[in-house]
Each structure stands twice: as structure tokens, then as C-alpha cells.
Amino acid sequence: MTPERPPPSRRVRAVSETTPSDLAYTEQHEWIRDDGDVVTVGITHFAQDQLGDVVFVDLPDPGATLEQEQVFGEVESTKSVSDLYSPVAGEIVERNEALDEQPELVNTDPYGRGWLVTLRPSDRSQLDGLLDADGYDAFVTG
């Protein structure tokens, strides 16, 4: 089969309704919530919708250190696999172990119980370079 690729004309559907304004975003379709000492990272509603049913999520163990934009894991759907890119440099604090048994949480609750990892940024100034909700919407809708 050819890779899943939706017709662009139907691609854009009210993204803003599904892009919480209190989060930061990357062009790799991750969202980042700044919890103070650590940040929580997940993938966006748009990303999970493009992927389809998620059947496996591969995440690093706590203690792993990441460079910004380093591949830190992958999300497998029924059809394909996608790499996850670290939005900022830092150290993994927690991985969402619930996803080991319920990877579908990434689909059903991408901004809540479908979170991926928390990490402690080594350079918090990198957070300033992320997209806000409007910027991400503009990026996605092209």
C-alpha cells in the first residue's frame, strides 16, 4: 500500500478548536506544557488524527538525556511508524507507563492521559523558541 496521505483540500478542519491555548508547540507536532521544574510532552490532536489508531509507543527510560530535536521515541500506528523529537534539551523524568498497555490514549486524550514524557530542560531559554497555539495553527493550516 502507498503511505496514508489525505487529500490536502480536506485536511484542514477547525484545528484551532483542538489546539489548547495554554500549551507550546513544535513543527514536529509535539505539545509542551511548562509545569515549572519539568515540562510535559505529548503529540497534538492533529498529529494523532493523521496517524490513525496508535498501537505502540516506544519511550525512553527516566534519566535519559536528550539534545533538542533528538529522536527520543516512536509512535506506531496500524499502518506506519513516526519518530518523536525532543522539543528541548533535557533529562527524562518520567515516561507515561500507561501507554504500554493503552497506547490508544494518545488518540482518545492526546493532551491529557495520552502524554508521553516529562523532562527537565537543561536550557529553559529553548522554551521561548517554541510555537504558541496560534503559531501552530497557522503552521498546520499552511
Binding site: 500500500m1 502507498t2 496514508e4 489525505p6 487529500p7 514536529q28 498529529a47 506506531e76 496500524t78 519518530d83
Partner: protein, 380 residues
């Protein structure tokens, strides 16, 4: 993560160029996610691949597979044309019968795998894969010059609906009854049988064939009949399914997909489809090459691999044994029914069921066991 979005403006025109089935507008209105498939805009999923997959295993689902070709061979010598073009023996079936067969080239490579339906002694319907329809038509036409038969590609005129699942026959019959298109046709037709269907909206055929491992039917109907049939089935509780679920279902059933498991570079014997090649009859396209391949035996064979852990192997990943490369994955996913990874792979002779191998999943060697498909046995 990276998302294949197709943001380039040129894609808009490219998508507009895709062929649309009689149901594409309806699918869009139903919120289906469409994708390009062999030049057609096809529904990849409706509610979601896993839900659709479960519906087919537990109840019934309907697929729009109108991208499949509908090619008619007609005339007194129609059976001879089919016999000269494909590998299986059409003399083994009667009017109202269907047969899985292969279209091979002169070197014995697989141009396509398909089902042929004997509608009458002088009328056959071949249903090739969308991407290979033109090649199958050309192959059939090579056999017509000395014979009294003609080949008609009517792929644009017919819709193909597959209705599959344990209760599919009852729901098809209930739907056909509401369309005044006959009673008990699905339940009254045996496996690999085909019967005519006529409704006010259009006519066609119902066949007890499929590609999911479940019991079910495939219906080839005139385009005008497609929407009433689709809508009636859905109203009767049949779940709309996309090509995503069709792929996970056929993989659990161990059924090969041309383009993944089958190609002109693979022989029927390597694909373990030798049962669909009948050499004890008049010569046909590729028969002498196939006889030679059969005599010396294929160098690789298609088997299943059950990979350990939860990460699925994917197409093109390498398979190793004792450090040496011994094959490659052709398809792989997490089996929605079994909840663990399954894959098909070509493996060097004499590897086979029970052997231990390693799959290189993006640099991580992952242990697996060679098994004989299907991964899931159903009562059909």
C-alpha cells in the same frame, strides 16, 4: 514527530486528478479519511481502523473496493483466453464458479493475483488489483488474436463492495430484500460461487469471496446501484470500513498483497501459491518458466514471523539468522485481534516454521519465530 501532510500546493491538483468511485462523495460526507491508492481516492478509514477491524471479526463490515478492475472476457473462446493467460485451470470450475488465480509473465513473475468468475461458458469476469488492471488487460489481449473472444475493461462502470464478517450473509440478504433484489442470495450461494443480482437501481453479481479471512461476499454492481446498496447495508448495521482495516484483516488471514508479497520479481512457488498453478494442462503464459522454477525449487519462501515484544516489524526490514541476512519483511503490523506483532517475510530456503530468526527493527535485533500463516484461523 513527522507527519506526512502533503502541504505543497501542487498536491491539490494531484488529488483532483485521482479517480473517484461511485461512492467517494458519500464517503467524504460521512467524514471518511481519504487517501490516494493506485490512482484512486479511496477511504482509508471511517471511525478508525481498529474499530472497523473488530466489526469485521465480530459482526460485519463493508468496504468500497471499486478501484479493483472489472474486466470481462466474452465470446465462444472466452474460457480458452482465460486458460492461456492465467495459471489456475479454468476447466475446473463451472458456470457460477469463481477461482483464485495468478497472471504471470513469461519468466514466471507474478504480474497480478486475482479472482476470475465464470458467469457463463462464454463470459468471464476478472477482478484484478487496481494498479495491475491495465497489465492484466494487456495479458488477456495477447491471448485473443487466434481466438474468438474479446476483452472489455469496464472498471469505470462497476462498483465493487465487499461485505465481510460472521453475520455478513444475513445482513446482505436483508439489504437485498429491501432493494427488491432477491431473497437469500448470500446465504444460498456456496463459497466461491457467484450469482447474478438485479435491482431497480442496477444489476451485477454477488460472489462468496473476500480478502479478510471471514465469511462474506463481494458484489460487483453497476455504479448506479452502489449507493443504495452501501446505504442499505449501513442502515442494517454493517460498519463502513476503509482500506486500513482491509490491510490488517488480510494480514491476520495471511493473505498476500500484490506490491508487498507479490511482484514480477517473485514466483508463485516462492509465495507458496503453487496450488494456484496448474501445469498439467495446455501451455499458458509463463508455464514453461514456472515448470523450471518448480523443478529446481524456489530460493526463498513466504512465511509468517511472530516477532517478540510489542514493536511491529515493517516492510523491507531485514531478517537475520546467526548473524547472516536470510530474508526480508514484506508486511507487518500489530495484529488488532491478537494484540501482538505479526509479519510476512521472504526467507531463504530451507528456513520454515519453528525456526528462530531476528528482525532488525530500526537497528534493534528483535527475536521472532517463523510460523505458517494464517495468524488467525476462522471458520470462513
Amino acid at each position: 514527530m513527522t507527519v506526512d501532510r502533503g502541504t505543497e500546493t501542487g498536491d491539490e491538483a494531484a488529488v483532483d486528478d485521482l479517480r473517484r468511485t461511485a461512492l467517494t462523495d458519500h464517503h467524504e460526507q460521512a467524514g471518511a479519511k481519504l487517501g490516494p491508492f493506485a490512482g484512486w481516492a479511496m477511504p482509508i478509514r471511517f471511525a478508525g481502523t481498529l474499530d472497523e477491524h473488530a466489526a469485521v471479526r465480530d459482526h460485519a463490515g463493508v468496504f468500497d473496493v471499486s478501484h479493483l478492475g472489472t474486466v470481462f472476457v466474452e465470446g465462444p473462446d472466452a474460457t480458452a483466453v482465460v486458460a492461456a493467460t492465467f495459471t489456475n485451470d479454468p476447466a475446473r470450475i463451472d458456470d457460477g464458479g469463481a477461482q483464485y488465480t495468478l497472471c504471470c509473465d513469461e519468466r514466471g513473475g507474478i504480474v497480478d493475483d486475482l479472482i476470475v468468475y465464470r458467469l457463463a461458458s462464454d463470459r468471464w469476469l476478472a477482478v484484478p488489483n487496481a494498479a495491475n488492471t491495465a497489465a492484466v488487460v494487456r495479458a488477456l489481449e495477447l491471448a485473443t488474436p487466434d481466438r474468438d473472444a474479446t476483452v472489455h475493461d469496464r472498471s469505470g462502470e462497476y462498483a465493487v463492495l465487499a461485505v465481510q464478517g460472521p453475520v455478513s450473509l444475513d445482513l446482505v440478504d436483508a439489504t437485498l430484500a429491501t432493494l427488491d433484489a432477491g431473497t437469500g442470495l448470500a446465504n444460498g450461494t456456496s463459497s466461491f460461487g457467484v450469482v447474478p443480482v438485479d435491482s431497480a437501481a442496477g444489476s451485477g453479481w454477488l460472489a462468496r469471496t473476500g480478502y479478510t479471512g471471514e465469511r462474506g461476499v463481494e458484489m460487483v454492481v453497476e455504479n448506479a446501484a452502489a449507493l443504495p446498496l452501501w446505504a442499505g447495508l449501513v442502515e442494517n448495521g454493517v460498519t463502513p470500513c476503509g482500506l486500513g482495516a482491509r490491510d490488517t484483516l488480510r494480514l491476520e488471514a495471511g493473505l498476500p498483497l500484490h506490491g508487498n508479497e507479490l511482484s514480477v520479481r517473485t514466483s508463485p512457488y516462492a509465495a507458496r501459491l503453487g496450488w494456484a498453478v496448474k501445469l498439467d494442462r495446455e501451455p499458458f503464459r509463463g508455464s514453461s518458466a514456472l515448470a523450471a522454477i518448480k523443478d529446481r525449487g524456489p530460493e526463498q519462501r513466504l512465511w509468517g514471523i511472530q516477532v517478540e515484544g510489542r514493536r511491529p516489524a515493517r516492510a523491507e526490514m531485514l531478517v537475520r539468522s546467526s548473524g547472516a541476512t536470510v530474508g526480508y519483511i514484506t508486511s507487518g503490523t500489530v495484529s488488532p485481534t491478537l494484540g501482538r506483532p505479526i509479519a510476512l517475510a521472504y526467507l531463504d530456503d530451507p528456513l520454515g516454521p519453528g525456526d528462530r530468526v531476528e528482525v532488525d527493527i530500526r537497528g534493534r535485533p528483535t527475536a521472532g519465530e517463523v510460523v505458517k500463516p494464517p495468524f488467525l484461523r476462522r471458520d470462513g
